[in-house]
């Protein structure tokens, strides 16, 4: 604990780095996952292949994925972000597709029958109704990104993983403990916060929001 209190500034800086990487990853991942999910939900034939490919990507061990990207993108944040974005796709796309395809057909029929065009139907009906599942997927992706990003420190991407790898090379257990504690607290806090938004979105589509 003494390490943590004596180096709050440094740990805080790494924590911010870690948060920035996570936010960047989730932001980019969502931009990619949303259209892919819509495509997979609209064209059922594509669902299997898309989720299959994303599943295979997810099984690549993180360290080897990072190392694989180094020749092309070099050491540092870029390689880390690319790998993390690829990992996040499975959770985001899968949940988004389940959310979109789980909407009661009669609700969509009513939307069409009222004369909504595709765009209106998406924004007014499908998006809000699938949102809770998308948020659930986002929560999973955030927590897993926070975890895997720790390893990205190994390829000089920074973040709280730096404490762990520095701690291991210098046999400084206080440092390892401080790093682990900070990562865990970050993951738990993120999970809790996102769960709150998820619940609100669920309440909204059940008509329970005051």
């Amino acid at each position: 604990m003494t390490y943590l209190f004596n180096n709050l500034g440094y740990v805080g800086q790494l924590l911010l780095e870690h948060l920035r990487i996570t936010a960047e990853v989730i932001g980019i991942a969502l931009v990619i996952a949303l259209p892919i999910g819509v495509l997979a939900a609209r064209i059922r034939r594509l669902q299997g292949p898309i989720l299959g490919v994303l599943g295979v990507i997810y099984t690549i061990p993180s360290l080897s994925f990072f190392v694989l990207l180094i020749p092309t993108f070099g050491l540092g944040v870029t390689s880390a972000v690319i790998a993390l974005v690829a990992y996040a796709q499975l959770m985001l796309v899968r949940n988004w597709v389940v959310g979109l395809t789980g909407i009661e057909p009669s609700i969509l029929e009513a939307a069409d029958g009222m004369g909504m065009n595709g765009w209106q139907r998406f924004w007014r009906v499908e998006f809000p109704l699938a949102l809770p599942l998308l948020l659930a997927g986002t929560r999973l992706a955030v927590v897993s990104t926070i975890g895997i990003a720790t390893i990205a420190a190994y390829i000089n991407a920074g973040g709280l993983g730096t404490l762990l790898f520095e701690g291991v090379t210098t046999a400084n257990y206080e440092k390892i403990f401080a790093g682990s504690l900070a990562v865990s607290l970050l993951a738990i806090a993120a999970n809790y916060l996102l769960r709150y938004f998820e619940r609100r979105a669920e309440a909204a589509i059940r008509g329970e929001l005051e």
């Binding site: 009661e104 009669s106 609700i107 029929e109 009513a110 939307a111 069409d112 029958g113 009222m114 004369g115 909504m116 065009n117 209106q120 007014r124 009906v125 809000p128 109704l129 909204a204 589509i205 059940r206 008509g207 329970e208």
Partner: protein, 335 residues
């Protein structure tokens, strides 16, 4: 807008042996209440969905006020046609107010105008104004369908398509809703196309009935025409034209006063007497016995055993009356 004409309309789905709708032609006058009646799989819903272009016909044309619906953008067409479905399909994340406002909002009405319209519609379908802020899941099934009707009527369309709207609703509520729908129709005079497999419902609501079977239009006529001049065995079976009580319910008293003199009833009755050995089985109910009395002019019906045809007794018209008096509901005596 309100007159609908189907001309040789056919819908063939992929991978299906016969067309779901097969060369159906009929014309609907503005402001009339048409019921599409037939067993499940007869194509009535498919036909309905081609009118607002949720399905596109494989062949034939549908015209509204003489304009081929295919020449209109689908979304624009649908905003001008009210649509009510069995599962109601209210948007669960929207308040009742926003649900009803969907089409006016799509049409870009001003908030004030939509607001007034929603208030008026809630009154019309018999829901309190306080429901505006409620959500669909807080409402009963019957109330939800009232909202469904209000939503369909929101932009004051000339045409209303209703796909088995009351089929999933309990019998007592369904009765009320049918009654109210007729009352609403008295006020708004929409052209209504109403799909049902429920014969009672069809006869209660329809100005004219389209009877369908296996994709074909079998008969198109008023309820009375369908009962008195059924096209074939199928129509007879479906609507139970042999059921005297239904026939009675379709003829009003005035028409008896008007027509009585000209009826050659003497001759008709003597024809009936010819087949007056009427037999019933012990487990038949008195409704069918009454129907037989009306049909046969017989003084009494013979009760025979179902298996060996042995006579068990006779029932007269007076027995029916006596049975009713004996089994009349009695008021509980108050203490």
């Amino acid at each position: 807008m309100g007159e609908i004409e189907c001309d040789e309309v056919t819908k063939q789905f992929l991978n299906e042996a016969r067309p779901a709708v097969n060369q159906v032609s009929f014309k609907v006058d503005e402001g009339s209440f048409i019921v599409l009646l037939g067993p499940s799989g007869c194509g009535k819903t498919t036909l309905l969905k081609m009118i607002n272009r949720l399905y596109e016909p494989t062949a034939g044309t549908i015209r509204i006020e003489g304009i081929d619906v295919h020449d209109l953008p689908a979304t624009e067409l649908r905003r001008r046609i009210g649509y009510v479905i069995q599962q109601v399909g209210l948007f669960p994340h929207m308040t009742i107010d926003r649900n009803i406002s969907v089409v006016p909002n799509l049409l870009g009405w001003e908030r004030q105008r939509t607001d007034a319209r929603v208030g008026m519609l809630l009154d019309m379908v018999g829901l309190p104004q306080a429901y505006r802020t409620k959500y669909p899941r807080q409402l009963s099934g019957g109330e939800q369908q009232r909202v469904g009707l209000a939503r369909a009527l929101a932009a004051d369309p000339a045409i209303l398509l209703m796909d088995e709207p009351f089929a999933a609703i309990d019998a007592i509520t369904r009765d009320c809703l049918q009654e109210e729908l007729l009352e609403i129709q008295q006020k708004v005079h929409k052209t209504i196309l109403f799909v049902t497999h429920d014969v009672e419902e069809a006869f209660r609501l329809a100005d004219k009935i389209v009877v369908m079977k296996a994709g074909r239009l079998v008969q198109y006529g008023t309820p009375l025409e369908i009962v008195t001049r059924p096209q074939n065995e199928f129509v007879q079976e479906l609507v139970g034209t042999r059921n005297m009580l239904r026939r009675l319910s379709l003829i009003n008293v005035q028409s008896v006063l008007n027509g009585r003199a000209s009826w050659s009833s003497g001759q008709a009755l003597s024809n009936l007497r010819l087949n007056h050995t009427v037999k019933v089985h012990p487990e038949d109910n008195l409704r069918s016995v009454l129907s037989m009395f009306l049909d046969s002019e017989a003084e009494a019906v013979e009760v025979v055993d179902q298996h060996n045809n042995q006579e068990l007794g006779r029932i007269t018209f007076n027995d029916l009356r006596a049975a009713l008096v004996e089994n009349a509901p009695k008021q509980q005596e108050q203490a």
